[in-house]
């Protein structure tokens, strides 16, 4: 599969949620409170894209389709894209750029604090998503930095669950999906560590090797 061919249709597909809300506003089909519907919808999609991005690596490993990895940057940037739009709707339509009220809000309302923290943490990831930054940082440091997306995922789900009034079933669903995606990584990491310690990767030699086995 050539990922270069997949990218244009994927880009369009990723823009579909935005088109849906733009069309809904235009035709007034978003219900009684369209601004709330747009704000929440864009937030939902930022979180959806975060989970989609986090599922690239597990899917690649399970399916063997290595080309999936080449789509990850675009998906990750769409997390940032929708998060930025989500934040903008809040700053504009909720607060009308009243910076005093916004500052008070960030300080006083925990779910806003956490949401804002998510956005701030996304900034360096978006800024270093290009090849130049990757080369400049070096693979190891780049990867270490981008692992902060795990924390961002947890904070985003927390932001969602603190926003809802009583029915936390949807935030719980997101938490469960995130748990699976992060859990898989943890599980694979433990396995890899065991393999390394038990000498799986050592070149075959004559004579006896006594492997160091660390087991639970």
């Amino acid at each position: 599969m050539n990922p270069a061919l997949l990218k244009p249709p994927l880009l369009l597909a990723c823009l579909a949620p935005l088109a849906y809300y733009a069309w809904g506003l235009q035709t007034d089909t978003l219900g009684a409170n369209p601004i709330e519907a747009v704000t929440r919808g864009l937030g939902d999609w930022a979180l959806n894209f975060l989970l989609i991005t986090l599922s690239v690596t597990p899917l690649r490993k399970l399916s063997g389709w290595t080309w999936l990895g080449r789509l990850r940057r675009m998906l990750g940037l769409f997390v940032f894209f929708y998060a930025t739009l989500h934040l903008s709707t809040y700053l504009w339509f909720d607060q009308f750029f009243d910076w005093v009220a916004i500052t008070k809000d960030i300080w006083k309302r925990p779910f806003i604090t956490v949401g804002m923290l998510c956005f701030v943490l996304l900034l360096p990831l978006a800024a270093t998503s290009n090849g130049f930054a990757l080369r400049k940082l070096g693979g190891r440091r780049w990867q270490a930095l981008h692992r902060s997306v795990y924390l961002i995922g947890m904070l985003a789900v927390l932001h969602y669950s603190w926003m809802v009034k009583a029915d936390i079933s949807r935030p719980l669903l997101y938490a469960a999906l995130l748990g699976i995606l992060l859990g898989l990584r943890g599980w694979w990491r433990v396995q890899e560590r065991d393999r390394q310690l038990s000498g799986t990767y050592l070149p075959k030699r004559r004579g006896r090797i006594i492997p160091i086995v660390v087991r639970k």
Binding site: G31, A32, N33, I35, E36, F93, D94, F96, A101, K104, D105, K108, R109, P110, F111, W162, M163, K165, A166, D167, S169
Partner: protein, 307 residues
């Protein structure tokens, strides 16, 4: 060329012009009459109701929004859920029992309640704790006319309003989002205030189920959740009722829950609100703009502590 007019229609069979011009009206009327015949009499239009000096002059929120954007968790937690699912609510037979610290406990049928007092139209602001608001032309009567009927005892200090639970028609009560039945409460003097009404209709018509049919509390100076829907029981007590939302999150929801722009909710700033149908936000008014009428109920109270 000669044009012959056929003469096979008797003049008596020709519809007079005046009637012919009103044919659509005739169709509409007969369709309405046929429909009215199908429905029980209580479902017929309740009429406009007497105008009330308590009504405000703002333009009411569009009916489709009033009936399409509801918080009624018994029918689902999304605001579009009740409009979809509340039609199943069984409205007849319906009784309301009034009990507790009263001289004459009573169980009233809905038909009798509707005849209890003349219906008034009350165009009120409704402010939801979530930061949105509407203007709704309710049809109803003061709660006081119901309470006077049972003669509250001197020891009665509070009124508890208990909503109906119909597990077979209410999909939401299967989940434990809130403690069912939905319970709300007022201090007796708040309940006796002429602004506090039992609504049985809106927009001149019978109350739609998603708005809390057949009997719904409306307390316009408090956040919307204080106005319990589909009331089944009213109980007079001597201690403060624990309401469903107080049990769910005591730090967030106080017993009084008066609309108060000074007291923020941890999730929503209460300083402003978006009126449904409007783009800009409005400043939220103390007691939702009813301070002149209800302010004296709270003299000497610290409304920051007793929120």
């Amino acid at each position: 060329m000669l044009i012959h007019r056929t003469q096979d229609i008797a003049p008596s069979n020709i519809t007079p012009r005046a009637l012919f011009d009103r044919r659509r009206e005739f169709l509409r009327l007969s369709a309405g009459a046929a429909l009215a015949g199908l429905l029980p009499s209580a479902e017929a239009k309740l009429g406009p109701g007497r105008p009330s000096p308590y009504s405000i002059s703002d333009t009411p929120t569009a009916l489709k929004h009033v009936t399409g954007y509801n918080n009624y968790y018994e029918f689902g937690t999304d605001k579009e859920d009740p409009a979809r699912t509340a039609g199943a609510l069984r409205l007849r037979p319906w009784t309301l029992s009034i009990e507790g610290l009263v001289k004459q406990p009573k169980t009233l049928g809905i038909e009798d309640i509707l005849k209890l007092a003349p219906l008034e139209e009350r165009i009120y602001r409704l402010r939801c704790v979530e930061g949105w608001s509407m203007v709704i032309p309710w049809l109803g009567f003061p709660i006081s006319s119901l309470l006077k009927l049972v003669e509250p005892l001197g020891s009665a200090k509070y009124v508890e309003f208990i909503s109906a639970v119909q597990p077979e028609t209410m999909p939401g009560v299967k989940s434990r989002v809130l403690d069912w039945p939905y319970v709300e409460g007022l201090r007796l003097d708040e309940a006796m205030h002429p602004l506090a009404i039992i609504a049985v209709g809106l927009y001149g018509d019978v109350l739609p189920s998603q708005n809390g049919a057949p009997l719904r509390l409306v307390v316009p100076w408090k956040y919307g959740f204080k106005s319990g829907k589909s009331l089944a029981r009213i109980r007079l007590t001597d201690n403060e009722p624990r309401t469903s939302w107080m049990k769910s999150a005591p730090r967030e929801y106080g017993f009084y829950s008066n609309v108060n722009p000074e007291v923020d909710h941890p999730r929503w700033s209460q300083g402003s609100e978006r009126r449904i149908g409007e783009f800009s936000k409005r400043k939220t008014l103390m007691f939702n703009g009813y301070g002149e009428q209800v302010g004296q109920l709270y003299v000497g109270m610290d409304l920051r502590k007793q929120f």
